[in-house]
Amino acid sequence: MKTVFLVDDSATILLSISNILGKAGYATEKAGNAEEALKKFAAGIKVDLLITDLNMPGKNGIELIREVRKLPAYKFLPILFLTTESQQSRKLEAKAAGASGWIVKPATADELLNTIKLVIR
């Protein structure tokens, strides 16, 4: 079973995405902020995909992506970030930080799952 690591400061988003993924047969790990996520990465968490929000209190998503990419174990980890139309501009920044792709919020379950299928085999 593939495991998807979700990082978002919104409990609503975390719950809704993990519901969708759960139904589609993915396991999920969750963190409410970048610091918590980094702690789990530092501890060597085994995941197949990271999905993170960009706008979070404390370290933001872009910093998270940059730091995860620096860890040798996660050099090639697919990373998707959640974004909204109004944040179009930040895609470039996040890509430069090492993200693989993005999911535009709000996404339907199909859009979400399709995007995930695109980056993990």
Binding site: I13, N33, P78, R90, A99
Partner: protein, 732 residues
């Protein structure tokens, strides 16, 4: 309501509180250069609510917050200046959001027309004042919609094929971006059928120079699908910036294939062969095309780029990049250490269930203890006592789970004080102490309203108008303090103001007017002040809409008493007033002291018990005794509850104290301390005074829990009455 919606509602309220806190600071000091992070935090909160509202498909909240977010976005980007007016308007938007969340919580499909109108008015004001100049910028991003009719170049015959042709050359860094080229291919396969695929590895350097982490591959793919061009392109969305991608629709013109061959970095002939091999072109088509192109070649001048179609494509790419880059530089990143506690959200009723079970365990433990003691087996007694110690620890830990900090409740008053003070034209600071003091969640929930009343009272009646304060030599800015702290098993919450104090003479005359006291009755200062807690008392000359809501201090007191708490007031004219609320730490379980009267058992909350003494039955015909030189009034439970049997020759007195007063409770037997779960009395018994609840003993018997506060107060009232009667008797 589903779980997602309730999580959303709770989260939105939290975010809203954060927004409000930020906006209040912003309103007070709009010019502070350090506001950047604050504005970011406010934006983030609004953004989270909007995003989450989309997820739960609550469109009225989403639509409303969309505009609010836009304004905050402009504020964040420095496009509009920070101003007190804007902060006030945004605070009103926050209020409206509260309403909308309420609508969602009530399960209504949309807000009432009046609320809708309020929201529309707010949005209109936001748009007009803060979004007007931005409207033009909104349209710039929709360039990619008009791509369908690509490559309308002239010349060349139609290539007979019903499949798409995709040429892709991946960028070197695609692996390092976490992307796997194979996953693209697999995904393409899910769109339709891949008829042919050729791997192009021409870019692969010699092994010595090759970087294993770089990607050197490209693919030529023939894909049969009903998907649109946009769908196919979307597959490559994530790598578009750094890969070369060309997509030819089915039945493209031959020249388009030729252009493709030319544009790709590899050798033309080889690519031609690949296309033939993959079935995109026939050899004849390729030959024809190459010939035709040779014929046309002299016409195209060397300076002009030869292919208009390609220019179009390129233009689009350039424009897209321009658009992206133009907005690309923002987001100041501040390395702020997150201090947020690590939290797990648990549904409150699960906790209640746990506490309930722990309660049952406490009872069962008590029963086991009792049986063990009766059996007289030392080992059994030993092991049950270990067990009960553990149960006690579990009880404490479980109760701790329900403890929340009172800070959140206190922080609400920032807004209240600000709003009310503004309305009254007063300047008032709110000082909060002990925000981290913890108490039971159910207590916190219920204490909000009484506190609100007290704070509003302090702002409205307590703090004087600025001119009066200046006259009296006080600081023009009034101060209201909210304090919370623990004090011997209970939590104390104080509302203190440095206002004019309670006007005793006014209270007195009002009380006489209302018939609460007799004109000639002599009362101590404290008694006069306490009159404000009497039902139907209000001193405001004018009923203002701030505190004169028809709810008097008596209701406040009743609410607090229903929490097994008490409220006291102390006041000095000209200096200020302090309301002190005492509350039990929890409502569910108490340490009790078990006593017996006749065959009935009663429980006295242990933290109120001071000592136990033997009642000397001889010479006690009055209801007080001499406790080391102090007068101690007491109550005979047997008489109070009208128990039929006679008192035994030896009786005991449990000395209790409450709110600075001491009293004795006369009982037959002292049966020791034990912890117990409070079971509320049914509403049938709610009028009973002196009993706060019931509990079940280890033996299965029911014991009533005494309401010590009510007993003490009753006692002192009786005492006063007899004193009054005595003094009246003396006077006549």
């Amino acid at each position: 309501m589903d779980e997602l919606t309730s999580v959303f509602i709770q989260e939105s309220r939290e975010q809203l509180a954060e927004m409000e806190a930020g906006l209040l600071v912003l309103e007070q000091s709009p010019d502070d250069p350090g506001n950047g992070e604050l504005i970011n935090a406010i934006f983030r909160a609004a953004h989270t609510v909007k995003g989450a509202s989309g997820v739960v498909e609550c469109h009225f909240i989403e639509n409303f917050m969309h505009k609010v977010e836009n304004v905050l976005d402009r504020l964040r980007n420095g496009e509009i200046p920070v101003s007190g007016g804007l902060a006030s308007l945004l605070l009103k938007c926050g209020d409206h959001l509260t309403t909308l969340i309420g609508v969602l919580e009530a399960g209504l499909p949309e807000p009432a027309p009046a609320d809708q109108a309020t929201g529309d008015a707010l949005l209109a004001e936001l748009s007009e004042r803060y979004l007007a100049s931005a409207a033009a910028g909104d349209t710039a991003v929709s360039l990619r919609d008009s791509e369908s009719g690509e490559v309308m170049a002239s010349g060349g015959g139609i290539v007979v094929t019903d499949s798409w042709h995709i040429s892709v050359r991946f960028g070197r860094d695609v692996l390092r971006g976490g992307m796997d080229p194979l996953s693209f291919l697999r995904f393409l396969g899910s769109l339709g059928e891949i008829l042919a695929i050729e791997t192009i590895s021409d870019a692969m350097p010699a092994a010595a120079e090759m970087d294993p982490e770089s990607c050197y591959l490209g693919f030529e793919i023939r894909l049969q699908t009903r998907a649109s061009k946009a769908d196919i392109e979307r597959v490559f969305d994530f790598v578009r910036e750094d890969c070369e991608l060309r997509i030819l629709p089915p039945n493209s013109k031959l020249t388009d294939y030729l252009k493709l061959i030319e544009a790709l970095p590899e050798d033309d002939m080889r690519l031609g062969e690949i296309l033939v091999r993959s079935g995109a072109l026939t050899q004849a088509e390729l030959d024809e095309g190459l010939n035709a192109q040779r014929d046309e070649a002299p016409l195209a001048s060397a300076d002009n780029p030869p292919h208009i179609g390609e220019i179009l494509v390129d233009n689009k790419v350039v424009q897209k990049e321009l658009v992206d880059a133009a907005v690309g530089k923002q987001s100041r990143i501040q390395d702020k250490k997150a201090v947020e506690a690590r939290l797990i959200r648990v549904q409150a009723d699960k906790l209640d269930q746990l506490i309930d079970l722990v309660g049952e365990m406490v009872i069962a433990g008590a029963s086991a203890n009792l049986l063990a003691r009766r059996s007289g087996k030392a080992e059994l007694v030993e092991s049950t006592s270990v067990l009960s110690r553990l149960v006690e620890s579990i009880r404490d830990a479980a109760l701790q789970l329900r403890m929340v900090q009172i800070g959140e409740t206190f922080n609400r008053f920032n807004r209240v004080v600000r709003d009310v003070a503004k309305e009254l034209g007063k300047e008032i600071d709110l000082v909060i102490n002990g925000a981290d003091t913890e108490l039971d969640k159910s207590v916190v929930e219920k204490i909000g309203d009484p506190l609100m009343h007290l704070v509003r009272n302090s702002v409205d009646h307590g703090i004087e108008a600025a001119s009066v304060r200046a006259q009296n030599g006080k600081n023009v800015r009034g101060q209201i303090e909210l304090n919370a702290f623990h004090d011997s098993g209970s939590i104390v919450i104080q509302v203190r103001d440095d206002g004019g104090g309670l006007p005793k003479s006014k209270i007195r005359s009002k009380a006489i007017e209302r018939g609460l006291i007799q004109a000639e009755q002599s009362l101590s200062d404290q008694d006069v002040i306490n009159l404000i807690f009497e039902p139907g008392f209000s001193t405001a000359d004018q009923v203002t809409n701030i505190s004169g809501r028809g709810v008097g201090m008596d209701v406040v007191r009743r609410n607090i008493q229903s929490l097994r708490g008490s409220i006291d007031v102390s006041s000095e004219e000209g200096i200020g007033t302090t309301f002190t609320i005492r509350l039990p730490l929890t409502l569910a379980i108490i340490d009790g002291f078990l006593v017996g009267v006749g065959r009935a058992a009663y429980v006295i909350p242990l933290d109120m018990v001071v000592e136990c003494i033997e009642l000397d039955s001889h010479g006690v015909d009055r209801d007080f005794l001499n406790l080391r030189g102090e007068v101690l009034p007491f109550i005979r439970l047997r008489a109070l509850f009208e128990l039929p049997d006679d008192a035994p020759p030896r009786e005991n007195v449990v000395v209790v104290h409450y709110g600075g007063q001491k009293a004795g409770i006369v009982v037959d037997q002292l049966m020791g301390e034990f912890q117990t779960v409070i079971k509320p009395l049914s509403s049938m018994f709610s009028h009973l005074r002196g009993i706060g609840g019931s509990t079940i003993l280890g033996t299965g018997d029911v014991a009533l829990i005494l309401d010590v506060q009510a007993l003490v107060q009753r006692n002192s009232r009786i005492e006063e009455k007899t004193l009054n009667q005595a003094s009246l008797a003396r006077a006549s």
